[in-house]
Amino acid sequence: MSVEIIDFSVERKRPPRGSTILEVRDLHTQFDTEQGIVHAVAGVSFELKAGETLAIVGESGCGKTVTALSILGLLPHRQGRIAGGQILFHGEDLVPMTTKQLNTVRGDRIAMIFQDALTALNPVYRVGSQIAEMIRAHRDVTKQEAYERAVELLDLVGIPNAPRRAQDFVHQFSGGMRQRAMIAMAIALEPEILIADEPTTALDVTVQAQILDVVQEIGERMDMSIILITHDLGVVARIADRVMVMYAGRHIEAADTHDIYHAAKHPYTWGLLESMPRVDAETGKQLHQIGGAPPSLIDPPRGCRFAPRCAYVQPICETDYPEPQVVDGSSVVCHFAARPDWTADLDPTELRASLTREGGS
């Protein structure tokens, strides 16, 4: 990585670190299927601050990827649509924008790294020219200049012998190389926001670490804000500043990374953390699992969506959806988050007992 970065980014005033550059408000995204309308994202709100890395975590199908695709308007044309909410980028709403307007944002100011680079890159064009195409779409440069820049970028993300590899097709790359090429494309124009959708899922562990290093290093170097979508809590601990946990199309907890690992406030987050293998765990102890399966997103539960699987479930959970509340700096969507005894060590029977006591008094 000895190559000097030629500045291809336009003179762009980066907002001061810590100011909000992206704000998603009450986002609703739906899909038409033969079984009915799937409410894949049902009221997600979050903020991304300049320079921070926000991790969105949750199990498969909880709406992480759909949230990301909604930001750039990349939902499948016919089936998917944003049914409500706002996506404010520097205060400007991306939701009502036409494709033409969105195209000035896509790639240039907000870029995306997709999960499986083998299918996410076009199989019939050379890797270098696919990167150059994106540069040419936003900058007034010649084909030659754009291509040279593409080679530099491939070198920057750690692809050896980049001038030659730029002429290869994606199927000639190894899994890690493909992901590096995807990253090279996404960072080509030094976007303000980089959305990485499970960038390491298809890779083996050692390569995963390398890819995350590349993302993190370049993110810092180019002063980008990163939205990292993952279900791997190990990855989160490694690079995220803040974490948003999603469940069944809704955010349920958002907090600083440290707080998520040490002072989580939502029973689902507790379950997630307990299901993570730990080096310091007792040997022979069975790994925790959250019983049951996520609810149907066609006909979701009326109250708290986690209620059917929650060990602490109370009658109110099944009827009322809890409002987000801020407790010790974390935003939590749970009726009981503000209770002083509300920690992962709380016994569900104790909760019941004390609730009865309080109700009686």
């Binding site: 750039l72 240039d108 870029a111 019939v124 097709f169």
Partner: protein, 325 residues
């Protein structure tokens, strides 16, 4: 790829040899060379016997086959039993005429079919999509002889009557008007219009369906989403990333189809009296002219092999994922 090509050609040789045995046996079983003579009521049995001897028809099948094969390989195709013309010349002429018809019909069909396919895929489930889907099914289901006869009737006969012209706008038979000197493009076009349209009805139906399916698959792929995420125009996403990739299977299908059309236009050519391979074959079959039938079958078989080889090579050229070693 050169090695692959050479190997493919070598594999073809034994297949063609086996084919030659089968066609020889088949042609000899079906076509009786002296049938043409028998139509003449004044032919005496001695004449037939002399004729059979001349052609060596009384030798064993094996001797006859090897004698024919030897001549065939050295390019000596002999003279037609009925037309008394060199068979090589007759086949070359018929092949040329058929290729003209096939290539015109194929080119037009590809252009129209691809266009319909693209629009139908981009506007999936629109009225255009449903209408063209219905028409395609109708086109595929309608036999070519029906389409041909309807065209002759409507665009040939009725049209002339309505316009009250001295000669038809579109001719219903032949390749040129009798007595035409040299190459008259308008005359040629007015002759080829109807047979090419009859063929195109089916080909457009097939190609538009094929293109629609191929493009829909491409448009639903991840790399189209990536292309959109790059901020390039929707038009460029569709043409450069969508259509370009979706055309690959269609191109190879068209290459295969050319091979099939060499021997596959019998009905169309007969209906429109087009002096091509199909007309030649049918005439030779009626005449029992096995001297024509045998090389005809070999050529049409070889055309299919060659076209398939070209299709495979084309695939490797167009799709970098495919490499033959």
């Amino acid at each position: 790829m050169v090695r692959y090509t050479v190997r493919r050609i070598f594999i073809t040789i034994p297949i063609l040899l086996v084919m030659s045995v089968l066609t020889f046996m088949g042609a000899r079983a079906v076509a009786s060379p002296e049938a043409a003579l028998r139509f003449n009521p004044r032919v005496r049995p001695e004449d037939i016997a002399r004729y059979r001897e001349q052609l060596g028809l009384d030798d064993s099948e094996f001797v006859q086959y090897t004698r024919w094969l030897g001549k065939f390989i050295t390019g000596d195709l002999g003279n037609s039993l009925v037309a008394r013309r060199p068979v090589g010349e007759m086949l070359a002429e018929a092949l040329r005429n058929t290729m003209v018809l096939a290539i015109v019909a194929l080119t037009v069909s590809l252009l129209i079919g691809v266009l319909i396919g693209i629009i139908a895929a981009v506007r999936q489930n629109s009225w255009f999509d449903y209408t063209t889907t219905g028409l395609s099914l109708l086109g595929i289901a309608t036999p070519v002889f029906l389409v041909g006869l309807m065209l002759q009737l409507v665009l040939g006969v009725y049209l002339q009557r309505w316009l009250n012209t001295s000669e038809p706008i579109f001719y219903t038979a032949g390749m040129t008007s009798p007595g035409t000197q040299g190459f008259d493009l308008m005359d040629r076009l007015r002759h080829i219009a109807l047979p090419a349209t009859a063929l195109a009805v089916q080909l457009i139906a097939v190609y538009s369906r094929y293109m629609r399916a191929s493009l829909l698959e491409v448009l639903n792929s991840d790399y189209i989403r990536t292309a959109r995420s790059k901020g390039i125009s929707e038009r460029r996403v569709l043409t450069k990333h969508g259509v370009r990739t979706a055309l690959i299977p269609l191109t190879t299908q068209a290459a295969i189809d050319i091979g099939l059309l060499v021997g596959g236009l019998i009905i169309t050519e007969v209906i429109f009296a087009w002096p091509g391979m199909g007309t030649l074959f049918l005439q030779a079959l009626f005449d029992g002219d096995y001297v024509v039938i045998l090389p005809w079958l070999m050529i049409t078989a070889a055309a299919v092999f060659i076209a398939n080889l070209i299709a495979d090579l084309l695939y490797a050229v167009l799709d970098p994922r495919i490499r033959y070693a």
